[in-house]
């Protein structure tokens, strides 16, 4: 069951305030199934996040999640979602940034919520979205020498050639273990 009384009226007010105060930064704001999503221009992301964290009526002090989406073939291709939670007011808000490939980049929100560190690294790892200003942007889940960004819709998950008997020597040559 969807949770009752998620303060939709207050959330709508917050979104309205954002639209007036940051009217040039907000591209879109919509509501679906009781959740509000605000689409923001990437350049203004950190400013908006700082406001949402520090403003006493918003108080979105907890960053629940940062995740990427590949909207291929729709453009702009990549979306990065920020799920904010206010522990004081028991509310959630989603911020969304849409950027185009093939080398998408978004400013990092680690100055606002340090917890975004690993979430942004994961999004970089799986989608290839570069977070400008991130203190330590390395791959997180995949091996350091992995090539490609598997959660992109035009890439399959498996990148290695399967080793059978007919291509055993060929594939064996690409393996990095010690050979006599």
């Amino acid at each position: 069951m969807p949770p009752k009384d998620i303060g939709m009226a207050e959330l709508a007010q917050i979104v309205a305030r954002l639209k007036t105060r940051f009217s040039d930064a907000i591209e879109d704001a919509r509501e679906f199934r009781g959740e509000f999503t605000v689409r923001v221009k990437p350049e203004r992301l950190v400013e908006l996040c700082t406001f949402l964290r520090d403003d006493p009526d918003c108080a979105f002090d907890f960053l629940s999640d940062v995740s990427g989406v590949d909207y291929y073939p729709d453009e702009p291709r990549f979306g990065v979602n920020y799920h904010l939670t206010s522990m004081q007011y028991h509310r959630r808000l989603r911020l969304k940034v849409r950027v185009s490939g093939p080398d998408p980049s978004v400013p990092t929100v680690t100055p606002v919520w340090p917890g975004a560190n690993w979430f942004e690294r994961e999004t970089y790892d799986l989608f290839g979205v570069v977070f400008v200003g991130h203190p330590d942007l390395r791959r997180l889940l995949l091996p350091e020498d992995f090539r490609g960004h598997p959660l992109r819709r035009d890439q399959s998950a498996v990148q290695e050639e399967v080793q059978f008997t007919h291509n055993f020597e060929e594939v064996d040559r690409t393996k990095p273990y010690a050979k006599s």
């Binding site: 069951m1 969807p2 949770p3 009752k4 998620i6 679906f32 199934r33 959740e35 999503t37 002090d61 907890f62 960053l63 629940s64 999640d65 995740s67 989406v69 590949d70 909207y71 979602n81 799920h83 522990m87 028991h90 959630r92 989603r94 919520w113 340090p114 917890g115 975004a116 560190n117 690993w118 979430f119 994961e122 799986l126 203190p135 330590d136 791959r139 997180l140 889940l141 995949l142 091996p143 350091e144 020498d145 598997p150 959660l151 819709r153 998950a157 040559r173 690409t174 393996k175 990095p176």
Partner: protein, 413 residues
């Protein structure tokens, strides 16, 4: 052949210069791998430690050894078929993961779940919480050296596993919650089994608490170790008992109740200091609160359907296929194509035994999701590990890693 000819890129220590202190490069401190195979890292977790003698100067977690691409796999499956994948993430609390995902699908489809199914979900989730905390307690105590607690916890866990097997046919990876309700109704004998468990469990929890809480060695090893301040914990996205141990009153079951949790009377225990000991106490008390919830759910369990009657989402009962053409068509459509979700995105989170387990679903209007993302609580909790382990001994590091209760399946997905 060199590594580059193999097509393998070598990551040299130079690139990791920002992660460890300068003393590592002069040889003053030692870089040690608390490698992926280690009995105390609770799974395949690699911790790159920089040690000055026995104390940790920096601790860099390296994860991904259990990454199985669940989110990518889920993009290829219909919404119902993703349910068994969710079991395998946080494999110690599979029903919690089921619940998180299934609630997201139901929100996306705007489906109403009957009250009986909601109460059963609460009941089984709380039993899952108890089993998960039992594993945590057993392994955590084992790491610190209290070896007898381990098998006692697993003895109780067997009883709950039997209950799960009775209900879902599976001991661990139950996949019992489906979009719209439950897979099937509760079997006869369920109530009796749960009541037997409720009778014997409280004194067992008292036993475990007494074994450890009154033990001066345990208190020495856990008090004032691995402290994280409430401000840091919130800023780093820590949730669950690891957050409540620092005194932050945040429990999604109470703050944003789902699946009728607001019908039940329970508390979310809070700690004071944010050390290993407080997190331990939080989880022990949570086990007791879970027993309370199970008791209430069992007493108040309503009758009625266990699955929504919306045939676009839930399959019709098998008997109906014999005489109803519509039922046959619904069955066929659901099994071959699956139900189509409206275009949009939702994010739902539940309070899993480890913290906020969230499920983000993005639908493009077809029967398969465009994106499924699972916000894993252990992922965020583990990212705060370096904060808690400044200057501690390696033995304390083991205690701290155990106290944040990570499951690598959850961290890596």
């Amino acid at each position: 052949m060199s590594l580059t000819e193999y097509g393998v890129t070598e990551v040299t220590l130079d690139q990791l210069r920002s992660l460890v202190s300068e003393r590592a490069f002069t040889g003053e401190t030692m870089l040690l791998n608390m490698g992926p195979q280690h009995p105390s890292t609770h799974g395949v977790l690699r911790l790159l430690l920089e040690l000055d003698g026995e104390s940790v100067v920096s601790c860099v977690p390296d994860i991904g050894y259990l990454h199985t691409g669940i989110e990518k796999t889920a993009e290829d499956k219909t919404y119902t078929k993703v349910v068994p994948l969710t079991d395998r993430m946080d494999y110690l609390a599979p029903l919690s993961n089921n619940l998180g995902y299934v609630l997201a699908v139901e929100k996306l489809m705007d489906t109403q779940v009957p009250l009986r199914a909601q109460y059963v979900r609460v009941l089984l989730c709380e039993l899952t919480r108890i089993t998960s905390h039992l594993v945590w307690l057993g392994t955590h105590a084992l790491d610190i050296g209290a070896m007898s607690v381990f098998l006692y916890c697993f003895r109780e866990r067997e009883i709950v596993m039997d209950i799960f097997e009775m209900v879902a046919g599976q001991r661990m990876m139950a996949s019992y919650f489906r979009p719209g309700g439950l897979w099937r109704d509760l079997p006869p004998g369920f109530e009796e089994a749960v009541r037997d468990f409720l009778k014997l469990m409280p004194e067992r929890i008292d036993e475990y608490e007494a074994l450890l809480d009154k033990n001066p060695i345990w208190l020495e090893r856990t008090k004032h170790i691995g402290v994280i301040s409430p401000k840091d914990a919130v800023a780093w996205g820590v949730s669950g008992p690891s957050l409540r141990g620092s005194g932050v009153n945040w429990d999604i079951r109470k703050a944003m109740p789902y699946s009728s949790y607001d019908h039940f009377d329970f508390e979310a225990p809070l700690g004071k200091n944010g050390d290993v000991y407080d997190r331990f106490l939080c989880r022990i008390h949570e086990m007791r609160e879970s027993l309370k919830i199970v008791q209430q759910a069992l007493d108040k369990l309503p009758g009625g359907p266990f699955m929504t009657s919306d045939r676009k989402v839930a399959p019709p009962p098998k008997e109906e296929l014999a005489y109803s053409m519509e039922a046959l068509i619904h069955h066929f459509k659901l099994w071959t194509e699956g139900f189509k979700a409206p275009e949009g995105e939702v994010y739902v989170s539940v309070e899993s035994p480890r913290g906020e387990f969230g499920c983000y679903l993005n639908s493009d209007g077809s029967s398969k999701p465009r994106r499924v993302h699972f916000r894993a609580p252990s992922f965020a909790n583990l990212s705060a590990l370096p904060l808690m382990t400044q200057g501690v001994f390696v033995a304390d590091l083991v205690a701290i890693t155990g106290s944040i209760d990570i499951v690598l399946g959850d961290v890596d997905r």
